[in-house]
């Protein structure tokens, strides 16, 4: 079992250890887990079914074999009784009467009549001397004076004293059996009394066995020649088409396959004092008809069980895989977020260094240009004075611009100490809008407020949240055309969060831009922007324990939604 399971288990472990982001990974994993779980659950079930089948077959076969064995034993006993009675009768007549009495035809006829009355099956009776001549005969044929010295049974009876022949047609041309008994008097005189039996009585004993349809029973001699008619394998004196399994005097049952390729149970036993074996045959399909009925029921239950297991395993695996997929995605998200924070932190340090280093030369440029302007202002007019003045003003403007950039870079780098206070977010929004209202009015941009009147006050950092609103509103204002519209909404989300959304009908963003908008130094404003605004915004919202989401469609507009916790978040 361990070996069977180790293959798929190793594959699953390898899969879990490998970071494959493709959806195929989950399909493959699902397939492997389903296979493994199906194997684990079905293997015991299949083993149970196999054991059950084997046990059932064994017990059924034992149940079938025992009656068959008993039946053959009983019938064999009937045959032995029948033959023993007839042999005793012949033997009694041979010893009870003298040679002279028996050699008299009339006397023999009378004895034969009595004998037929007492014992059924006798056909005739004859006295034969040691020279093999039939001296007297009682019966339906004319066999008197016939000589038997050339026949095998005559020599056998001389030697053994009693003899029961195989079934043969002989002079009579119908199946019969000979019983011959040799009698020797005290004076040494010998004769043989020979009786013929009709084998019809054998058929009667066999039909009394009460065989089921499809079953068969017959007598066969040691050479495999049928002594009675078989329903299936031939008539009297035909050769049995298969060899008899090892047989002894005890009734014995074995399973074999007959020449017609039928699986059969064959019970056989030798009949004492003869060359006959009684054989009874039962075909296996008949034997197992009950089992097949039961098996069909079991099969239905088995198939239903297997289907149920498969469905349960599949559903369970699907749930597990989905959970795994979700947790993988969450993990990846957390990694990305961590990477993002690390990136922000490194860029912040770098920005601080750069801003600092640049400030000193910038201060020098500022002073030098300032000095140039001072000197020029003190001098009377000279050629190109105005042109020089314009150049100096351009230098000073550029210094101012650089100052602005380094200021923002330092602002980004600065570790902002969070100062939490309980405040009304609607009021903060209004205050922030105050900074922009003039530009909005000038450009005829509508600033629509849909602020919830029941918005609870939340504990957060006033300055930072204002910077967030300002950054987003600045972007929205830059995105909308003159006469555009910006909608501000606030609402209560649940017990833990409130939401603020800023929706504009501006130029919108492509998916690519939306994806990168929180990356530091990512900007679409060319030389006008530093690419830090949204990155700072993202950092602040995260630090305050909130979430920021963006939904945008190119040429239709952008909606930024911020979720803020009602209570400050630890860490």
């Amino acid at each position: 079992m361990k070996k069977i399971l180790s293959g798929p288990m190793d594959a699953i472990k390898a899969d879990l250890a490998t970071e494959i982001t493709s959806p195929d990974r989950y399909k493959l994993l699902r397939r492997k887990i389903v296979s493994l779980m199906a194997l684990v659950t079905l293997l015991p079930l299949l083993s149970l079914a196999a054991i059950n089948y084997y046990e059932h077959q064994s017990s059924m076969s034992a149940e079938i074999q025992a009656p068959l064995r008993a039946l053959v034993g009983k019938a064999k006993h009937s045959f032995e009784l029948f033959l023993a009675e007839r042999t005793s009768a012949v033997s009694f007549i041979a010893s009870a009467y003298s040679f002279d009495e028996l050699s008299d035809d009339a006397n023999l006829q009378r004895i034969f009549q009595v004998m037929r009355r007492e014992f059924t099956g006798f056909v005739d009776l004859g006295l034969i001397d040691t020279a093999g001549n039939q001296l007297s005969y009682a019966g339906p044929y004319d066999l008197k004076d016939r000589n038997y010295t050339s026949q095998d049974w005559f020599h056998q009876v001389q030697f053994k004293g009693t003899y029961i022949s195989d079934v043969f047609l002989g002079f009579r041309k119908f199946p019969h059996v000979v019983i011959a008994v040799r009698h020797t008097t005290e004076s040494g005189q010998s004769w043989i009394l020979r009786a013929t039996l009709d084998t019809m009585h054998f058929d009667r004993i066999i039909s009394a066995m009460g065989l089921e349809p499809g079953s068969d029973a017959f007598l066969v001699n040691r050479n495999g020649v049928l002594q009675t008619e078989s329903r299936r394998y031939g008539t009297v004196l035909d050769m049995l088409p298969f060899s008899l399994p090892p047989t002894n005097f005890e009734s014995n049952v074995q399973g074999i396959r007959d020449p017609d390729q039928r699986d059969i149970y064959i019970a056989s036993a030798f009949i004492a004092d003869s060359d006959f074996a009684l054989v009874a045959i039962k075909p296996k399909p008949t034997v197992f008809s009950t089992w097949y009925t039961v098996r069909l029921d079991l099969l239905v239950i088995f198939v239903l069980g297997v289907s149920f297991i498969f469905i349960a395993v599949y559903r369970l695996t699907s749930v597990l895989i989905n959970r795994l997929q979700e947790s993988d995605e969450q993990r990846l998200g957390a990694i990305h977020q961590m990477e993002h924070s690390q990136k922000l932190s490194s860029i912040g340090r770098l920005a601080a260094g750069v801003a600092h280093e640049i400030n000193n030369p910038l201060a020098i440029i500022n002073e030098k240009a300032g000095l140039m302007r001072d000197i020029m202002n003190l001098r009377p007019d000279f050629p190109d004075k105005e042109k020089f003045a314009r150049q100096i003003e351009a230098i000073l403007r550029s210094v101012d611009r650089c100052r602005g950039i380094t200021h923002r870079m330092l602002g980004f780098a600065k570790r902002m100490d969070v100062k939490i206070e309980v405040l009304d977010v609607n009021a903060v929004l209004e205050e922030t809008l105050g900074f922009l209202e003039r530009e909005a009015q000038y450009r005829n941009v509508e600033l629509k407020r849909e602020l919830s009147q029941n918005l609870p006050n939340i504990a957060t950092d006033h300055g930072q949240i204002q910077q967030v609103f300002l950054n987003i509103l600045n972007n929205a204002l830059a995105a909308v055309p003159d006469g555009g519209r910006i909608v501000l909404s606030t609402w209560n989300v649940d017990d833990h969060y409130i939401a603020i959304s800023i929706e504009d009908n501006g130029c919108g963003m492509s998916d690519e831009t939306a994806k990168n908008m929180f990356e530091p130094f990512f900007t679409t404003k060319k030389e006008k922007g530093t690419g830090l605004g949204m990155s700072i915004t993202y950092g602040i919202v995260k630090r305050l324990g909130g979430e920021i989401k963006v939904k945008s469609k190119l040429n239709e507009g952008t909606t930024m939604t911020i979720l803020l916790p009602k209570h400050p978040v630890e860490g």
Binding site: A355, N360, L371
Partner: protein, 130 residues
């Protein structure tokens, strides 16, 4: 008080910056002595105690804050205006705690500097400029 009677000491290791600044002040009628490190500044103060010292915080050798502390310890009347880099507000605030009059960030706005110097000179003793 007339600007040409002000006694100003400028302290910065950035020679180009501080000499140009001195020159610009001179053009506006403000004479200022210039030194480039902390030791020279202390010496210049002991030679002739200035009314106002414009002091860069970040200098090699003796730091601006140390110079400030030493000067204020010996001559509490000297008004010290600190020059800090951008984003170094903390340095400025620390300087204020040690008795600086004000702090300004580089690159400087000359008019603002002149205004601050003027306020420093005219302010009563012990006051600081926010």
């Amino acid at each position: 008080m007339e600007m040409n009677t002000w006694n100003i000491l400028l302290v910065d290791d950035e020679v180009d910056f501080i000499t140009t600044l001195a020159e610009r002040l001179e053009l506006r009628g403000v004479e200022a002595r210039v030194v480039h490190d902390g030791e020279s500044a202390l010496k210049a103060v002991s030679d002739n105690v200035p009314q106002v010292m414009v002091l860069d915080v970040m200098m090699p050798g003796m730091k601006g804050i140390d110079v400030l502390q030493r000067v204020k310890a010996e001559h509490p009347d000297v008004r010290v205006i600190l020059l800090t880099g951008q984003g170094k507000t903390r340095d400025g605030i620390e300087g204020m705690r040690h008795g600086a009059f004000a702090y300004l960030t580089k690159p400087l706005d000359l008019e603002e500097l002149l205004r601050t110097i003027s306020e420093a000179i005219s302010s009563p003793e012990g006051t600081t400029h926010a």
